[in-house]
């Protein structure tokens, strides 16, 4: 790959992932994760919230409607009751004259008769025009009581028929009064028929009012005093402090927060022709078990599905980004390998040029020294012959060393293309070890070679084989560190391939590390020491040459790399070199 396309690839990945390191993947993964969760969960939440609210509003409406109809039913029941008693009182005033009723016997008889039909009547009294109780029939001794200062008396004079609040009155028993005023014939004066009614009958009427799921149901007067006993707010004439007077002909339904923190729905409606208000209270739907279990279930479903969605998305995103990362890393490994290769190629070209330039003068030196040796040898007498011969041998040895170096440099130069030739593995391994001898010596690493002499030659690429073994041996030396042995063994496999086993006495690898050692950029060496490319390039080269590479390792015992190579190169089997 040339440099400009490499730059383009870098630019692309920078645009896609920001910085091209590990954190950009984490950011990409985070954005993807959040995005996918948003897309899948927001519609669920919105739909659920809409339905939840709709259902709540429906319940709310229904509950209020129900309460309203209960109130209406209760109201008409109580009004019918009031009307009944009022009409009895009106009937008496129409059937009997003032004078007739002043007769004690008549009155008592009348009370007796009425009580047969209407048990609620307690007593019956006739109040004269001055406001004094003139005649009285009933269980109390009230005759002669002056009512002219009492409120009900004033009211009845104004309204003809009047129903009072429940009160204690002179008798100290809660009761209420129905009174009717009648004009004396031919006079501008009124007499009043007064009946008091036991509130038990009122309580009975209230108890018969049907109100589903009502918490409490009672009557109060305009001041909020209880007219019938309540379940929660005390007995008759106790105060119901949450009372507020409704408008006329309106059923007032509202929520009330009670002192104990309970949310209560309250309906208040005025009872016509009476000073009373019917109050029905009810525990709100939001407190009810049905609602509680409903919202509990909703919450459960939402939480469960959210967790499920998050887990699934997390896994999917992880899978996706891991795959992407893998691809990107592979791509980068390829790029880097290409870069590495081109770097090596240019170094190789340089080395080749230098080596060639040096080989020629080396040949001059070698031949001239050789000539000198030849001449000394043929001359009969030559002073210091020994010393000269030694010196010339020294020169020849130096030339030989230089030759090795230049040939090695040239060997690197040829690494790039596959150049097939007949190769003696033994020679090749010796060549490679030539590079490493010094290092091995310093690190006190012994190198043992077990190579049979009858090993067949193989057709392969010298430079690439050099690099393969150089990498593996280097790795072995690095693994051992200091003091150890590298053992190289070769043998012919049944398949006909030649296997080279390189065993080190290093620390060995865990199976986890072993799984990754041929992966690009995987390194266990400290930072800046290993590129993580050596073994991956080696792997690539072995594969390119039609061979296999494998590793066996045990922690504490060292590792063995097995490189098997075909005797004939599969890609060029039919060609001669």
């Amino acid at each position: 790959m040339n440099i400009s396309s490499q730059k383009l690839a870098n630019l692309f990945s920078r645009i896609l992932f920001g910085r091209t390191d590990g954190s950009s993947y984490r950011r990409f993964r985070f954005i993807l994760f959040i995005g996918m969760i948003g897309i899948s969960l927001i519609p669920v939440y919105v739909t659920t919230a809409l339905h939840y609210n709709e259902y709540r509003a429906l319940l709310h409406r229904e509950e209020r409607d129900q309460l309203r109809s209960s109130s209406l039913g209760g109201k008409s029941r109580v009004e019918a009751y009031v009307e009944q008693y009022m009409s009895v009182v009106r009937f008496i005033t129409m059937q009997y004259s003032y004078e007739e009723l002043l007769d004690q016997n008549t009155t008592s008889e009348l009370l007796e008769n009425i009580r047969k039909e209407y048990a609620g009547f307690v007593d019956l009294g006739v109040v004269n025009t001055d406001g004094t109780l003139q005649t009285y029939a009933g269980p109390y001794r009230l005759q002669g009581v002056d009512y002219s200062d009492q409120q009900w008396y004033h009211q009845v004079l104004v309204r003809t028929v009047y129903v009072s609040n429940v009160f204690m009155g002179f008798r100290e028993v809660p009761h209420f009064v129905i009174a009717a005023s009648t004009k004396l014939p031919g006079k501008q004066e009124y007499w009043v028929l007064r009946v008091s009614i036991d509130i038990k009958s009122l309580e009975q009427v209230i108890s018969r009012v049907v109100a589903k799921e009502a918490r409490d149901l009672f009557l109060v007067d305009a001041n909020g005093l209880l007219q019938t006993p309540s379940r929660n707010f005390g007995g008759v004439l106790d105060r119901y402090e949450y009372f507020s007077q409704p408008l006329k002909n309106v059923i007032d339904v509202r929520e009330k927060q009670f002192n104990d923190g309970q949310e209560i729905l309250q309906a208040v409606v005025a009872i016509e022709n009476s000073p009373w208000y019917l109050v029905i209270t009810k525990v709100g739907y939001s407190q009810s078990d049905v609602w509680k279990s409903f919202s509990g279930r909703i919450r459960m479903i939402i939480i469960t599905s959210s967790v499920l969605v998050i887990v699934v998305i997390f896994q999917v995103v992880k899978l996706l980004t891991d795959r992407l990362k893998d691809e990107e890393q592979k791509k980068r490994a390829l790029l880097s390998e290409a870069e590495h290769t081109s770097k090596l190629a240019s170094i190789g070209r340089l080395a080749a040029g230098v080596a060639h330039e040096i080989n020629n003068p080396l040949a001059v030196i070698s031949q001239n020294a050789g000539l000198m040796a030849d001449l000394i040898e043929i001359s009969k007498s030559f002073e210091n012959r020994e010393k000269f011969t030694t010196s010339i041998n020294g020169i020849q040895n130096a030339v030989e060393r230089c030759k090795k170096i230049t040939h090695r440099l040239l060997g690197f130069a040829r690494r790039m293309d596959i150049n097939l030739e007949n190769i003696d593995i033994k020679d090749l391994l010796h060549e490679v070890l030539g590079f490493l001898e010094r290092e091995a010596l310093y690190s006190q690493i012994g190198i043992e070679l077990h190579i049979p002499d009858d090993l067949p030659m193989i057709v392969s690429d010298r430079g690439q084989l050099q690099q393969i073994f150089l990498n593996i041996l280097n790795n072995g030396i690095d693994a051992i560190g200091k003091d150890g042995t590298l053992t190289i063994t070769t043998r012919v496999l049944l398949s006909g391939m030649i296997q080279v086993a390189i065993k080190d006495t290093g620390p060995g690898m865990t199976p986890e590390i072993m799984k990754h050692i041929f992966d690009p950029f995987f390194t266990t060496k400290e930072a800046n020491k290993g590129t993580g490319l050596g073994l991956s390039i080696t792997y690539g080269l072995v594969k390119k040459l039609g061979g296999n590479i494998d590793v066996v390792s045990e922690v504490g015992k060292g590792s063995i790399f097995y490189v098997s190579l075909p005797v004939t190169n599969p890609s060029r089997r039919d060609e001669n070199v």
Binding site: N360, L362, A363, S366, N368, L371, K403, N422
Partner: protein, 135 residues
């Protein structure tokens, strides 16, 4: 010049190398001459046809391969041994493909060259790589 002497021409632009190599070959009983360019080589061959030409691959005026192909064309009987400073067999192989008898990488041992020259004069070819058969 004895009849048994093998006639060798050394062609190399590296004058000192050619001279000393020639001297050494003479000491080993070869009839040996040296020249320093391809053009000179062809002229000398015309004057006195050698048995073996030791030919450097890389020369300024006319490359070894060109000289080789001239020799093969005009004097098929002359055997050529190529010398290369490249240290690689690739250039040697090029020479072999061009019809050279053998090749040697610089610097080399004189005994090796002597051996190859003697083989060349007897036309005993080394086995070509890979095939295992003769020409």
């Amino acid at each position: 010049m004895k009849m048994s002497e093998i006639k060798v021409l050394v062609v190399d632009d590296e004058v000192e190398f050619a001279i000393s190599l020639t001297e050494r070959l003479k000491l080993r009983n070869f009839f040996c001459r040296a020249c320093y360019s391809g053009v000179d080589a062809l002229r000398l061959i015309e004057e006195n046809i050698p048995d073996v030409v030791v030919l450097d691959l890389k020369m300024p005026d006319m490359s070894g391969l060109e000289v080789l192909s001239e020799i093969r064309k005009k004097y098929p009987g002359i055997q050529v041994i190529m010398l290369t400073g490249h240290g690689s067999i690739t250039s040697g192989i090029q020479g072999m493909e061009g019809g050279a008898f053998d090749y040697l990488m610089k610097p080399f041992d004189i005994n090796e060259l002597e051996h190859k020259i003697r083989n060349a004069s007897k036309n005993i070819r080394p086995a070509p790589l890979g095939t295992g058969g003769a020409e």
